[in-house]
Subunit: 281 residues, 2 copies
């Protein structure tokens, strides 16, 4: 790729939000968090990196190796210690012990790892997520973005109740904003290498995305007991592995969609989000 084209793609990959965009993103996040709290969730706060050995538990290096970014130190003995043409070559880097997550909910499973949970556990968290995409697009496809999640752990029935409840809220919120969102069944690459779950997924979709055009701005996800098993999270009553499910909001993507809807007027969008949130309750 010519240097100038790569430069352009790098500047599409990241954004510093201006004050009006920041207020809007904070309002959206407060709205989704409020839905979580009103459903009984408390908030936990995860870091934006984990030991590689933790992320490995979730098959991320098997199922989507190309998407991953890891945090490497500089090798100041073998390497040059400084970037050349805006990059460090592999030979400049030391071994990477930390990985950058590409989804927020991992933090919830690591938080509850090795513990027993109530049948109807609900928690919310937001994190910076990282995806090494082939191409980037401002607000829509960033190398780093924010994802708010509401995560249910407990019985399978609890996960499905939470997903049903939030599906309804997302629908009502979108209608109140006159946003034309389509709920689309999707596949989840988590389960591609897991025969039984891959079969179940073909029989009954485990992921639905809420899309405006081709852009998914929210999703609801059923993981069955995949994460419960991987993190040995068990039900307090009975001791079987917990089922999990999550509701995810891509915050910058909501900004992208509202930017379109309100012709770039983030203040007007903020007013509308406030009004819609009040309407949905």
């Amino acid at each position: 790729m010519p240097a100038s084209q790569e430069e352009a793609s790098l500047s599409d990959a990241l954004v510093i939000l201006d004050p009006d965009q920041t207020d809007l993103l904070r309002e959206l996040d407060a709205t989704f968090t409020g839905w979580g709290r009103s459903a009984g969730a408390r908030e936990i706060l995860p870091p934006p990196m984990y030991p590689v050995s933790d992320l490995e538990k979730f098959d991320v290096y098997v199922n989507f190796p190309h998407l991953n970014l890891v945090a490497a130190p500089l090798d100041l003995e073998a390497g040059r210690g400084k970037p050349v043409d805006g990059r460090f070559a592999a030979g400049d880097l030391g071994a990477a012990r930390f990985g950058l997550p590409h989804a927020t909910c991992y933090g919830a499973y690591l938080y509850y790892e090795g513990t027993r949970v109530d049948d109807n556990t609900l928690v919310t968290l937001v994190n910076r997520c990282f995806r090494n995409e082939d191409r980037f697009s401002p607000l829509r496809r960033l190398v780093s973005f924010q994802m708010r999640e509401i995560v249910a752990l407990g019985t399978f029935e609890h996960t499905q109740n939470v997903i049903a409840e939030f599906t309804g809220r997302i629908d009502r919120f979108a209608r109140a904003l006159s946003l034309d969102l389509k709920k689309v069944a999707a596949t989840d690459p988590f389960f591609e290498n897991d025969g039984a779950r891959a079969l179940l997924q073909r029989l009954s979709p485990v992921k639905y995305e809420f899309c405006r055009g081709d852009l998914a701005i929210a999703s609801v996800n059923t993981h069955r007991n995949f994460f419960g098993e991987r993190c040995d999270i068990r039900l307090r009553q009975g001791g079987e592995h917990a089922y999990t499910g999550c509701v995810a909001f891509g915050l910058e993507r909501w900004l992208a969609v509202l930017d379109e809807q309100y012709g770039g007027d983030a203040r007007q969008a903020l007013e509308s989000v406030r009004a819609a949130a009040q309407q949905v309750g």
Copy 2:
């Protein structure tokens, strides 16, 4: 290092905050942000990584190369594509085009890069910061932590007024919390390779840290026109390079100190922070 010892050091490097700690961190952040707003700042929202070519402008790879972490993709052709013993070797990694920042205020200079600012510009932002430390300690010395900053850009006098005002607020807030904070002159490695500024720094300290014991939980920093020059930020009136200064709060470190002060009772700490914030106004 034996594997078990390294495992321990990795788990000291990161923390997932529980709900009470999360509420406390959010309250502290809202308090410091409120001080910024009441002084006229609006908030911007930076990403937790930047092109290496942007961070390079700030001499980070010259002045503290050991502290830096960069985000590398996996080389799926030459590398093994999976971690061994919880790490990817350098040979498993591709070239790194993005760096992870170790301070928050870079986002402000990149936001205003190439623009003209008013004499008394004030902005606030929080970010995830990353430091590849030799040793880690829970909440006190993490590989990734949150830093809230209030950044002044404009005339030198403006930067000094903001620093004086926030020094007073920090002092009053600490007193209201009965926190024994000491203001300590420190040196800033930014200017070590810059002859004239290094001399100025020896004549007149440009960094003061607010320490409890040996732990700095806040700092005030005078950068003169270093960042204004590096990012070509100029004064709207007159066109000379802007002066900058910043006030920084290490949020997890405040948690560490309040945890000590309140014997691990984060809810009691939250009540005290609310009361102290009201008192300071």
